[in-house]
């Protein structure tokens, strides 16, 4: 049993290694373009809603905590608390996705969806309200939004998959499938959930905070 548990955990870690490389490629693209067009990236970043971004960071960290509690409660056999922790984690995950939806619809309203991804709604920000820092080109602002949507979109997809996995765990918990002797599914889903949290821990400062100190005067 112990060997099976270890094998499952290692399998999840190997999968997470591939995920690190996958997101790593996107972080690399981000770094290169940000180096090439710092003013455009700062201007575009300043247009993101920092409050919603910060609240979402807190929501995700809290969900990681409740996930850790779910693993703990399974290990010590507190079934009620385990179910409650899983429900909380699912609610927090859905809250994150809800706030993300609000942000995306704001971008749609301001015609900030890059390229012609949305039919009849090409990238076309109102330059009277969109504050461009000196040296910033609107084309490179568009590049920022490509990267923003690619990275947050892939992250959101991982969140959706995570909520799905958590729902399976919740059903399993209600059916008394997990116990202090057998909690590996809870443990490795937790690993996945924490990984998605870590990706956001990097995305938040890199996407939302990079130009704030330049916003006023600067």
């Amino acid at each position: 049993m112990e060997q099976q548990r270890a094998a499952g955990t290692i399998g999840m870690w190997v999968f997470l290694v591939t995920e690190i490389m996958f997101f790593g490629g996107m972080f690399l693209a981000y770094t290169l373009y940000r180096n090439a067009y710092p003013a455009a990236f700062a201007s575009a970043s300043n247009h993101l809603d920092i409050t919603l971004g910060a609240v979402n960071t807190a929501v995700l960290i809290f969900s990681s905590f409740t996930m850790a509690m779910a693993v703990y409660c399974t290990q010590v056999g507190k079934r009620q608390m385990q179910i409650l922790s899983l429900i909380l984690t699912i609610i927090l995950g859905l809250t994150f996705l809800g706030i993300k939806t609000v942000e995306y619809s704001d971008k749609y309203r301001d015609s900030l969806i890059p390229g012609k991804l949305i039919p009849g709604r090409p990238f076309n920000p109102d330059l009277h309200t969109f504050h461009l820092l000196p040296g910033a080109s609107i084309r490179n602002v568009e590049m920022f939004y490509w990267i923003y949507f690619a990275m947050t979109g892939m992250h959101a997809l991982h969140m959706i998959i995570g909520v799905g996995l958590l729902t399976v765990l919740l059903i399993g918990s209600v059916r008394r499938r997990y116990s202090p002797e057998y909690y590996n599914p809870v443990e490795i889903t937790g690993l996945y959930w924490h990984f998605v949290d870590i990706v956001w821990i990097f995305l938040f400062p890199l996407l939302y905070l990079l130009g704030r100190h330049l916003a006023h005067g600067g």
Partner: protein
Amino acid sequence: MSEHIVPIRVYAGVFLALMAGTTLTVFAAFHDFPWQFNTVIALTIAVIKATLVVLYFMHVRYSSRLIWVILASALFWLAILFALTFSDYWTRGWFPVT
């Protein structure tokens, strides 16, 4: 890899540290530091937060050597990805291309 149950107060401590880090990084972002220190500070806080999550929430601190090796290999290859790409981009224009 013996089973290790992390006590609740450790989880709570990590949770509070992560929240504090988030608050700190938002505050720091509005200060105008010289050179690239805004980015350096933001990334330092992010790395500390990620390390806390990996060590405690993901139990790596209490895990077998094999998990450490798997994680280290991921970071090593990520470093190769960044190092080789930047050895190209940063050295462009150093020498005139004829």
